[in-house]
Amino acid sequence: MNKAVSSFVPGVLATSTAATVSLAAPMGRLSLRARGDLSALDAALGMTLPTRIGQRNAGAICLGPDEWMLHADDIVPIVAACAAIYEGHPHSLTDVSGREITLLIEGPRAAELLTLGCARDIDSIPVGEGRRTVCDGATVILWRDAPDRFRMDVWHSFAPHLLHLFETGCRELAAEAA
């Protein structure tokens, strides 16, 4: 089970000269919870889990002292590898692929677009890191991939609300520059 799914159609959702918001292709998502010695998990996952909150590696972001979000094209091998070490190294691995979608937010004023909904200082998120935060009332994970390029993971039912805000914001920011 648990193949990547989404009911939204990937593609551009809102765009202007200021910023473009599009929907990422469906992907596998796993919420990983563990503590103590992580070396067994690292070995099973074939990566070193980042341990500072907000830090990322290729497929994982550290969200809390015992919490990671994993993104992967195929989660089946990950689930199997983790299950294999569960007895000796208990943890929680939960499939949340169906829970959320990812918005790609990019463009010259992408960071400012985020300030319409995010109270925290966007500038304090370094490129290559990410943070869980709140955007217009919805909990999101914000990944910063470049100074002007972000990804935002949001639960399905909150996505239309945020998208509406970003549509308005894209137009507003473009009009401001005109």
Binding site: I53, G54, L63, P65, E67, A119, R120, R132, T133
Partner: protein
């Protein structure tokens, strides 16, 4: 809106990411059934409500999701410190 330092994230962030969770250092008895009515009443309902420094709990709900402790002055609304759950209650003198 307050700024709150999360001791787990080690960042000072807007209050919008946090929720308040009442007075801190109120430990649930290990064996509640052994508690007298008076003891249980104290645990359940009696709070300090001080004017001044207050030991209290917050949760970084929209962040690391951790509960942590804080000392906030209820007069100035300033946080004197925040610290991880389970850490000892800091001495007020050391915060001045």
């Amino acid at each position: 809106m307050l700024l709150i330092h999360c001791p787990y994230c080690d960042e000072t962030l807007p209050e919008a990411e946090f929720t308040y969770a009442g007075e801190a250092h109120i430990v649930r008895p290990l064996d509640p059934s052994a508690q007298t009515d008076e003891q249980w009443e104290t645990f359940m309902f009696i709070r300090r409500n001080p004017k001044g420094p207050h030991y209290e709990r917050w949760r970084h709900l929209h962040g690391c999701a951790r509960y942590f402790n804080a000392v906030r002055d209820t007069v100035t609304d300033k946080f004197l410190t925040t610290y991880k759950a389970g850490e000892p209650r800091p001495d007020l003198e050391s915060l001045k």
